[in-house]
């Protein structure tokens, strides 16, 4: 194990493991969200579960750590990589050699992070955080969703955010397997397709919720 994390590949190991952890977290998060499409009661029950389940309580700090590590190492890696290419070319070819997402992972990550801050203050700080600090959580989380997604500007912001997330994952998902060395010439194209499918499904599921509310399909909060 000696000084593995000093090496470029060791640092990428951390990026890939923390990234895959976040990928799994998203799956849980989106499944909770879509309960809002079923009914007010279902969504509020799901939120109560997230606020009280012991496993979830343990995982919240781990998740925060996962984010912190992922972001910290993304900075370290990006700075080192920028230094390795100090002079830019004056002409860049129009021929597509790599995907837009692959080239802009850091910028996309920062976009995800900005909206994440907004999202945390609007939802999480009023819901789950209150249970940690002994405050009073939102009595009807559904009502909160209903009001915020009733605003078109908030829906637009949300969709932009999820679009950035889509690009991040459509590259990150397969890239993580490549970094771990679990890949070969057969599986590179396969994992790229799986990554696209995963990213599309997760993005559509997230976006379906603001769409549902802005179209006025939500139940009026009790």
């Amino acid at each position: 194990m000696s000084n593995i994390f000093c090496s470029s590949i060791g640092k990428k190991l951390i990026m890939s493991l923390s990234g895959l952890f976040l990928v799994i977290f998203l799956l849980l998060h989106v499944s909770i969200n879509v309960t809002a499409l079923f009914s007010q009661n279902a969504y509020n029950a799901a939120c109560r579960f997230m606020d009280t389940n012991i496993l979830i309580q343990v995982m919240v700090p781990v998740l925060a750590l996962g984010f912190a590590v992922h972001i910290l190492f993304s900075l370290i890696i990006t700075v080192k990589n920028q230094k390795a290419r100090p002079v830019k070319y004056s002409v860049s070819s129009k021929t597509e050699t790599s995907s837009w997402a692959a080239k802009n992972m850091f910028v996309i990550g920062v976009i995800v992070l900005c909206f994440l801050g907004l999202h945390l203050t609007h939802f999480w700080a009023k819901m789950q955080l209150q249970h940690f600090i002994g405050g009073h959580g939102e009595d009807n989380p559904y009502a909160l969703v209903y009001t915020l997604f009733g605003e078109w500007y908030y829906c637009v912001l949300y969709v932009v955010w999820i679009a950035a997330l889509y690009f991040h994952i459509s590259h990150g998902f397969w890239s993580a397997f490549q970094t771990l060395g679990i890949n070969n010439s057969k599986w590179i194209p396969r994992l790229q397709i799986i990554a696209k499918i995963y990213a599309i499904l997760v993005a559509l599921a997230f976006i379906s919720i603001p769409l549902y509310f802005i179209l006025g399909l939500g139940e009026p909060p009790k």
């Binding site: 194990m1 000696s2 593995i4 000093c6 090496s7 470029s8 590949i9 060791g10 640092k11 990428k12 190991l13 890696i77 080192k80 990589n81 920028q82 230094k83 390795a84 290419r85 100090p86 002079v87 830019k88 070319y89 004056s90 002409v91 860049s92 070819s93 129009k94 021929t95 050699t97 790599s98 995907s99 692959a102 080239k103 992972m105 590259h171 397969w174 890239s175 490549q178 970094t179 771990l180 060395g181 679990i182 890949n183 070969n184 010439s185 590179i188």
Partner: protein, 247 residues
């Protein structure tokens, strides 16, 4: 054919370079790119001007000495060829062609378009030796090697060490080069003996010399004149991580 050339001129590693424009006429479409530069250099010499420095040696696509970033692509617009194998018929009459040296912190410019790729030699040296038994010539069939393994090793061994992967990579990463060298030996029983040590030593050298890390953009694979696959990078990651976890 005639062309307008915008060529990077730089006196030495420390000097500040700039582009210089040239016009060139009466070029046959069957002229190779380097022959076109030879014609230009002959003209410059006869005019008493300094010729343009660029790297080349075999001019048959096997030595890896030629380089050049032509109109935004390493080794120019043709796929899977080196600059010496590129011909002017790949351009349109009257085109403006911008020629830049490889850009990477680990490959400093020596003069004009020539860059110092000694860092690659240092990585190879760090890789060390391959153990072979001395004695009589061994029987060619004495060591059985499965066909898929032999094929993959040969594909990786096709790397000519040109540095197009580093030049193309937005991170100036040498991972494709290192992966090709590690794979070509690790896939064969003879090279397997020192494979783990080799992976660790070459990666450590690569990091030390100022190359960036791999973010799996696949640009290297697209521009490598020998079409080396990034599946070799996955193998390098595997070799390196397994070796480190065993330490």
């Amino acid at each position: 054919m005639k062309f307008k050339l915008k060529i990077w001129r730089q006196k030495n590693a420390k000097a500040k370079g700039q582009f210089e424009s040239f016009s060139i006429e009466n070029i046959s479409s069957d002229t190779s790119f380097l022959e076109m530069l030879d014609i230009l250099n002959n003209r410059l010499i006869s005019e008493g001007k300094e010729p343009i420095a660029f790297d080349h040696d075999c001019r048959e696509g096997i030595c890896g000495m030629c380089s050049l970033y032509i109109n935004g692509r390493a080794h120019g617009p043709d796929d899977d060829v080196t600059t010496c194998q590129l011909h002017m018929r790949k351009f349109r009459d009257g085109d403006t062609i911008t020629i830049e040296p490889w850009r990477s912190a680990a490959f400093p410019v020596i003069r004009d378009l020539a860059v110092n790729r000694y860092a690659f030699d240092q990585i190879l040296q760090a890789g060390g030796f391959v153990s072979v038994n001395t004695g009589g010539v061994p029987d060619g069939n004495a060591v059985p090697i499965a066909k898929p393994d032999a094929d993959e090793a040969m594909d990786a061994a096709a790397c000519i060490g040109c540095g197009a992967c580093v030049a193309t990579c937005k991170n100036g990463s040498a991972m494709l080069f290192v992966a090709a060298r590690v794979s070509s030996l690790a896939k064969l029983p003879q090279g397997r003996v020192e494979a783990t040590g080799r992976a660790k030593a070459m990666v450590a050298k690569m990091d030390e010399l100022g190359f960036g890390g791999c973010t799996n953009t696949q640009a290297c694979e697209a521009e490598c004149p020998k079409a080396i696959s990034i599946s070799h990078i996955a193998r390098l990651n595997r070799e390196f991580l397994c070796a480190k976890l065993q330490d």
